[in-house]
C-alpha cells in the first residue's frame, strides 16, 4: 500500500560530500583494551531499552554496540509518574530502574539481540555488592554480551542509601564482586556528583574494572512555581541532555589525564558529530548516546555515518588518532 521509503544518505547530504569516496577508508574501530568494536558509537543505558524498539526505525546493529537498560536481580516496576520533566536543554528523570529483572531479560530480550548478532553491553544494578555479583553471575556465559557495565549510581542499602559511586571503597567492593564473576571486560559507570572523580575511578580500576563509563546523570530538581509541587513524583531526578555535556567532557578529560591507558565510554549530552569528536578528544574511546535518541530515534545511527565523513574531510584516517588530542592555551 505504501511506497517504499526513500533513504537519505547522510554522507551525500554532508557539507563535505566530495570526500565521501575516501570516507570508506576511514578506520572507525573502537579499541577498548580487551574489547574491540566496529565503530565508537553505542547507546547510553536506559535510553535504548533493549534495542528492539529502535530497530523499528533502522538496523540497530549499525551501532558499535548496544548498551541496554540496567538489569537488577528481581524485576522492578519503578516509580510512579510523573517520571520526567523537561528543563532548559535537558531533562530530569526518575524512573526507578524499571526492568524485567536479569532472568526475564535473558529469557525474552537477549535472544532477540543474539538473533540480530548485536554486540551487547549489559548494564547491571543492585543495592548490595552481593546483588551486583548475583546479576553478573547470571550473565556469565550469555552469548552476545561483550562487556558488563556496572551502574554504581545505585543507593547502597548498607550505607544509609548513599550511592556506591560516591565512595571509592564501596565502588571497589562492587567491582571486585562483579569482576570475579565474568570473563568479559567490566566498565564501572561513575557519577560526577563527587568531590574527586579520579579517586573513585582509580579505586574501580584497582578493583578489577577494565574501563570506565563517564558520566551518569546529575542529581537535580524542578518545582512548579505556581503549585509548589515537585515536577517529578520522586522529587529529585537525574539531569541529562546537552545541558550536562560540558560536565561530562570535563570528567572524561580529568580521568583520561590521570589514567591515560584506561578505556573510557564517554556519555552526557552527545547529540551532534561535533559532540562526538569533543568527547573523543577529551579521552573517550567509545561514545554513548542517551537523551538525544529521545529527540530523534535516528541520532546514534546518523552519528556513525557522519563520523566517517567528518574524519575523511579533515584527512584523518582513524577515529582513534583523535583520542585525548586536546590543545591547551
Amino acid at each position: 500500500m505504501s511506497a517504499d521509503v526513500r533513504r537519505i544518505d547522510a554522507a551525500s547530504a554532508s557539507a563535505h560530500g566530495d570526500a565521501a569516496t575516501e570516507a570508506a577508508d576511514v578506520d572507525l574501530t573502537a579499541d577498548l583494551g580487551r574489547l574491540t568494536l566496529p565503530n565508537p558509537i553505542t547507546t547510553a543505558s536506559g535510553c535504548f531499552a533493549s534495542g528492539a524498539e529502535i530497530d523499528r526505525f533502522y538496523d540497530v546493529t549499525d551501532l558499535g554496540a548496544i548498551t541496554v537498560k540496567s538489569l537488577t536481580l528481581e524485576p522492578r516496576q519503578g516509580l510512579p509518574t510523573p517520571r520526567m520533566a523537561e528543563t532548559p536543554a535537558g531533562m530530569l528523570n526518575a524512573i526507578g530502574l524499571q526492568n524485567p529483572g536479569v532472568d526475564g531479560w535473558l529469557e525474552r530480550d537477549l535472544p532477540w539481540l543474539q538473533g540480530k548478532g548485536a554486540k551487547v553491553i549489559a548494564s547491571i544494578a543492585g543495592n548490595t555488592p552481593e546483588e551486583f555479583r548475583d546479576v553478573a553471575r547470571r550473565l556469565r556465559r550469555a552469548t552476545g554480551v561483550v562487556a558488563v557495565e556496572v551502574n554504581l549510581s545505585c543507593p547502597n542499602v548498607e550505607h544509609r542509601g548513599l550511592v556506591f559511586a560516591c565512595d571509592p571503597k564501596a565502588s571497589a567492593e562492587v567491582i571486585t564482586a562483579v569482576a570475579r564473576e565474568v570473563d568479559v571486560p567490566v566498565f564501572a559507570k561513575l557519577t560526577s556528583d563527587v568531590t574527586d572523580i579520579v579517586a573513585v575511578a582509580q579505586a574501580c580500576i584497582e578493583a578489577g574494572a577494565s574501563g570506565l563509563t563517564l558520566i551518569n546523570t546529575l542529581l537535580g530538581m524542578s518545582i512548579d512555581p505556581e503549585t509548589g509541587r515537585t515536577r517529578l513524583f520522586n522529587g529529585y531526578g537525574g539531569l541529562s541532555g546537552p545541558a550536562i555535556r560540558p560536565v561530562a567532557v570535563r570528567n572524561v578529560h580529568q580521568v583520561h589525564t590521570a589514567l591515560p591507558d584506561v578505556p573510557i565510554i564517554g556519555t552526557g549530552g552527545v547529540r551532534t558529530i561535533e559532540d562526538v569528536i569533543e568527547m573523543v578528544r577529551a579521552g573517550a574511546s567509545l561514545v554513548a548516546v542517551g537523551t538525544a535518541t529521545f529527540v530523534d530515534p535516528f541520532t546514534a545511527r546518523d552519528l556513525v555515518r557522519e563520523l566517517r565523513t567528518w574524519l575523511a574531510a579533515r584527512g584523518h584516517t582513524s577515529v582513534a588518532e583523535l583520542r585525548g588530542s586536546v590543545l591547551a592555551w
Binding site: 517504499d4 547522510a10 526505525f57 532548559p88 536543554a89 524512573i95 513524583f233
Partner: protein, 313 residues
Amino acid sequence: MSRRAGQVEGRPDADAPVRVIGEVLARRREGAYWLLSFSAPELADRARPGQFVEIAVEQKYSLLRRPFSIARVSRQGPAAGTVDVVFDVGGPGTEWLTQLALHDLVDVVGPLGTPFPLPKRRVPCLLIGGGYGAAPLFYLAEELTREGLRVDMIIGAATRERILNPIEAKRASATVTFTTEDGSHGVQGRVTDVLAQTAETCRSAVVYACGPMPMLRAVSEACAELELPVQVAVEEHMACGVGVCFTCVLPVRGKDGEVRMRRACLDGPVFNGARIAWDETRFELGPPPDVEEDEVEDEASGRLTDDELWGEQ
C-alpha cells in the same frame, strides 16, 4: 543536515513508524484550539485512529518533541498525503506551533503507539471526547462508519468554546450529546452525567474515549458499572514517544491479574479502560456523576464481553 520537504527516513514495512520532514499546509484556529495540517504521505499511509505523532518544536531551550494525536489523515483527493493534528496552547512548545507559517517545515515522527481496536462484531459504538480529545474520535468515527458500524457521540468540555467542531461531530455520528460544565452548550455537567442514558438509548455495546485523564478514569469506572467494554486513549508525559525511556508508564492489570507499568507510547496510548489500575495513578476523580442507572443494570447481562469484542489482547 539540510532539510527539504518530503525527506523521510525509516523502514519500508507498512507498520513501521517513520521520520518525515513535512510542509505546513494549514495552520488555523479551530474554536478554542488550533489545527495544524502538514504533508507526510508515508506517515498518512501508515496511520490508524488512536495513534499519535511526535513533532519537534524549535523553541529556545526546548529539547523534546511534543506528542499529538492524529486527528485526520487524507490518503486520496486533493489533500492526499496530509496529516492533521488539533492542539491546545498550554506552553512554549504548543505556542511555537501556532507561529508556523504556510510552507514552513516540521520534523515529525510517527505513526506511534497502538490504534483503537475495532470491534469484531457489528455493534453500535459510543465515542466520548473531552476537549481536544474529540479530534482523534472524529477520525475513528470515519473508520467505524466505513466499516458499517453505528456511531454515537458524547462531546464534553468546560465551556461552549472548548467543544471541538460541533458541526463535524453531528456529521460524523448518528446522534451527538454535548455537555459543558457551565451549561453554555448542551447539557450542563460532564460526559459521565449522560453516559448511562445515552448508552441505553443508542444501545451502545462499546465505548471509546479520549480526553483528560480524570475524564478517562471517570468514563472507565462508569463503564465498569454498566458492564460496557471501553477503550481509552491516554496521555502521560513522554520523553521519547518510541518506547525506550520508560517515562510514560501507566499501571495496567494483565490477564493474570497482576498490575504492571506499561508504556503509554508503545503498549498504548489506547488501553482497555477496565484494565487500568486507576487507583494507583495520580489522576483524581471529580465529584461522582448523578445519573439514574437503575434501569440500565437490568440490561447488563446482554452486554458483550471484552473477549467477544476484541479477542486476545
